[in-house]
Symmetry: C2
Subunit: 135 residues, 2 copies
DNA sequence: TGCTTATTTAAGAAAGTTATTAAATATAAA
DNA sequence: TTTATATTTAATAACTTTCTTAAATAAGCA
């Protein structure tokens, strides 16, 4: 908080918080920051929401480790139904995080380079947090 | 895929995928990887889910920029009700991402050091993705 | 061709998330 | 003490997510 504005002064520029001691300049600066970064918040939160699901985080981690895996094997590893896995894979594919390569009847999924800068640090978090302690 | 196991061989070690050409060793290795990292996936995905919401990602970004902000000002900046903001702040506080400091009637929230290693890279993503283009 | 395997899609139920409104709590100020 | 301000809490409604089951698609094999 920098300058104390009178309550009347605040009510005049009435685009603002009801709070008496609100810093009008700070609030406007924040509004501009959000506007200047336009759709970035929506895009980034969309990607983070993908990794914000435990099953999908595991899938991403496993694809990093094994390079590629098919829905059937993932279903087996994760202990869940194939359609459930398939639907998670679709979400990852829709947001350009993974891609599929067909080999006969099997489709092998792998991480795309595109979003790796964002996701790769997470895998280090996984390993560092618990692998040292256990086993 | 390394060695081709016969279908019979696969059915004997029957802890595995129905897929005929499944690599049993790979599947077991993956299972062990998940087990070895225990609760890390749940914890990390929980934190990522916080940032996986557009409103909360904006709050985190604004706290990084402004050091501290109160619910009332955030409500004004984000254009949403105070109880809505307060409930997002609670989620962030419950997972040790932010902390509050009381100054009279106002509570100023700020980022905790604890989870900053995880979240700070996101803020660079925001700035890099769009700030160059606009204005 | 028909049968099997691998995967996806679709519809629906159950659970989880987020905003809204109203009421409760807490501090400050008249 | 009463009144106003800042915030939280609670109940609830609308929406979203995720799993389940069944059906559809697609490729290989007898």
């Amino acid at each position: 908080m920098t300058l104390l504005n009178s309550k009347e002064e605040i009510m005049e520029n009435n685009q603002s918080c009801i709070r008496v001691f609100a810093d009008k300049d700070q609030i406007n600066h924040c509004r501009e920051l959000l506007q200047a970064n336009g759709s970035a918040f929506g895009q980034l939160s969309g990607l983070l929401a993908l990794a914000g699901n435990e099953v999908r985080l595991k899938i991403l981690f496993l694809l990093e480790e094994e390079k590629e895996l098919c829905p059937c094997d993932l279903s087996d590893i994760l202990g869940m139904s194939i359609p459930a896995v398939s639907q998670h894979l679709r979400k990852l594919k829709d947001k350009n995080v993974i891609e599929g390569r067909r080999d006969g009847q099997t489709i092998f999924y792998s991480l795309k380079q595109e979003q790796l800068t964002l996701f790769q640090p997470f895998f280090k978090h996984i390993i560092n947090n618990s692998n040292i302690v256990t086993v």
